[in-house]
C-alpha cells in the first residue's frame, strides 16, 4: 500500500512493517462481503453498481472494492491504487459515511438496472 502506508513508529523494524502488510493482505475481504452494511446505508443493493475512485479514477463495481472490517469501522479501498474510497462507522445513534474517496456512486432507480 504505497499510497497510504501506516505511520512508522520510532524503533519499528522493517520486518514488522512487512508483517503488518502481510496481515493486512490476509485480512482483506471484498466489497461484496459488506453488501449487507452497504444496503443498509444506501437503502439498496449496490455491490453490482459502479463507483469511481477519486484518487486514481478507476471505475469498478462496489463489490470489487477491497474491504477491511477488523477496525472500529468498515473501510473500502480501491483495488487498483489501494486508496480509501469509503469509510463507514456506526455508533448507537447514527451511521457516519465518509465517501470523499469516491467521485461517484451509481444508484439505480430500481433493482436489476
Amino acid at each position: 500500500m504505497a499510497v497510504d502506508e501506516p505511520t512508522k513508529q520510532a524503533g519499528s523494524q522493517p520486518s514488522e512493517d512487512a508483517e503488518a502488510m502481510a496481515l493486512d493482505r490476509a485480512l482483506t475481504l471484498d466489497g461484496n462481503a459488506v453488501a449487507g452494511l452497504l444496503e443498509e446505508v444506501f437503502g439498496w443493493e449496490i455491490t453490482a453498481q459502479l463507483t469511481q475512485c477519486a484518487n486514481c479514477g478507476h471505475v469498478a463495481e462496489c463489490g470489487a472494492l477491497l474491504a477491511f472490517v477488523g477496525g472500529p469501522g468498515t473501510v473500502l479501498r480501491c483495488s487498483v491504487c489501494k486508496e480509501v474510497v469509503v469509510r463507514i462507522v456506526r455508533t448507537d445513534r447514527a451511521t457516519y459515511v465518509d465517501a470523499r474517496g469516491a467521485s461517484f456512486f451509481r444508484l439505480p432507480v430500481s433493482p436489476d438496472i
Partner: protein, 280 residues
C-alpha cells in the same frame, strides 16, 4: 402568479422560457407503486442439520419472509447476548434458487468463531435464528448467462459455487462448467458425494479436485496447491470467453486471480469472494 414571474415583473424584464404549463397532470394512481424490498432481520427456523465434513454442516432454514435469491448470494446471521452484545457473520447460500420455501447455509466451524461455534455446538432442528438476506449482487451467476463457467474454490469457498452448479443443473444450463476445488485432505471435501455424481449427468459440468495435505490411495486428482499450470490445464479448454468465480481464503483467492490475469483472462471476467485469513 409564480415567484419567478413576480420578480421578473418587479425588475422589468420578461421571464424567459415558455409560459407555465397548464394543469394537465394525471391523477395520482389508485395504488402506490410497490414498495422497495428492504433488507430486514427475520427469525428463521432450523428444519434440518446435515454434517458435510467434521468441520462443516449444512443448516436448512425456513424463513417467514423468503425473498428469491441468486446463486452466489449470502445471508447475514446475527446473535444477540442477554446484555445486548451482538456478533454477526455472513454465510453463503448453498441451495439453488429453484428450491422453494427454504434455504441451505453451509457453515464451517472456525475455532473460537463466535457465530459458527454457536451454530455447530448449540443449534438444533426446531431452534430459531436471526438473519437477513439474500445479500449481494456482485458475486452472482445466473444460468441464463451463456458463456462457459469457471469456478475455483478453496475449502468452504465451495459453498456459493455449489449453489451455482446446483442452479445450473436445476435450470438445465448447458454452458460448459468446470469446478477446480482445493481441500486439505479428502476428509475435508464438502459435498464430496454430490460432486462425484455431477459429471455423470452428462450436461457439461466437470469437477477437478486437488488435495494439499496428502491424498488417499488411488487418488486421481491433483496433489498440490493451485498454481498457474493447474489453472491453465483446467480452464484453458473453456476458451477466452470464460467467466470465472473464485472463492476461498484471501491469499488463495489473490494468487488464483493474479495467475488467471497472467494467463490472459480479462480482470473484469474474474469475480472474487475472499473470506479472510481462516482456513489457509
Amino acid at each position: 402568479m409564480s415567484f419567478a414571474r413576480r420578480i421578473a415583473d418587479a425588475i422589468g424584464v420578461r421571464a424567459s422560457g415558455s409560459p407555465p404549463r397548464p394543469p394537465e397532470w394525471a391523477p395520482a394512481p389508485v395504488e402506490s407503486a410497490a414498495p422497495r424490498p428492504t433488507l430486514e432481520w427475520q427469525i428463521a427456523t432450523v428444519t434440518r442439520i446435515v454434517p458435510e465434513t467434521a468441520r462443516a454442516r449444512t443448516f436448512t432454514l425456513q424463513l417467514p419472509n423468503r425473498r428469491p435469491h441468486r446463486a452466489g448470494q449470502h445471508y447475514d446471521v446475527r446473535l444477540t447476548a442477554p446484555d445486548g452484545y451482538q456478533a454477526q457473520r455472513s454465510y453463503s447460500i448453498a441451495s439453488e434458487p429453484e428450491r422453494a420455501g427454504e434455504i441451505d447455509l453451509t457453515v464451517e466451524l472456525i475455532p473460537d468463531g463466535e457465530v459458527s461455534s454457536y451454530m455447530h455446538g448449540v443449534l438444533e432442528p426446531g431452534d430459531r435464528i436471526e438473519l437477513r438476506g439474500p445479500i449481494g449482487g456482485y458475486f452472482v451467476w445466473q444460468a441464463s448467462q451463456p458463456e462457459p463457467l469457471g469456478l475455483v474454490a478453496g475449502g468452504s469457498g465451495v459453498v456459493p459455487l455449489m449453489a451455482m452448479l446446483r442452479h445450473r443443473a436445476a435450470a438445465s444450463g448447458r454452458q460448459p462448467a468446470r469446478l477446480l476445488y482445493s481441500s486439505r485432505t479428502s476428509d475435508d471435501v464438502i459435498y464430496a458425494a454430490e460432486l462425484a455424481r455431477l459429471p455423470a449427468a452428462g450436461d457439461g459440468a466437470e469437477v477437478f479436485q486437488t488435495l494439499t495435505r496428502g491424498a488417499p490411495e488411488g487418488w486421481s486428482g491433483f496433489t498440490r496447491r493451485i498454481d498457474a499450470e493447474m489453472l491453465r490445464e483446467v480452464f484453458a479448454p473453456l476458451g477466452s470467453d470464460v467467466r470465472i468465480f473464485v472463492c476461498g481464503p484471501t491469499l488463495l483467492v489473490e494468487s488464483v486471480a493474479d495467475a488467471l490475469v497472467a494467463m490472459g483472462v480479462p480482470a473484469e471476467r474474474i469475480k472474487t469472494e475472499r473470506f479472510g485469513p481462516t482456513g489457509s
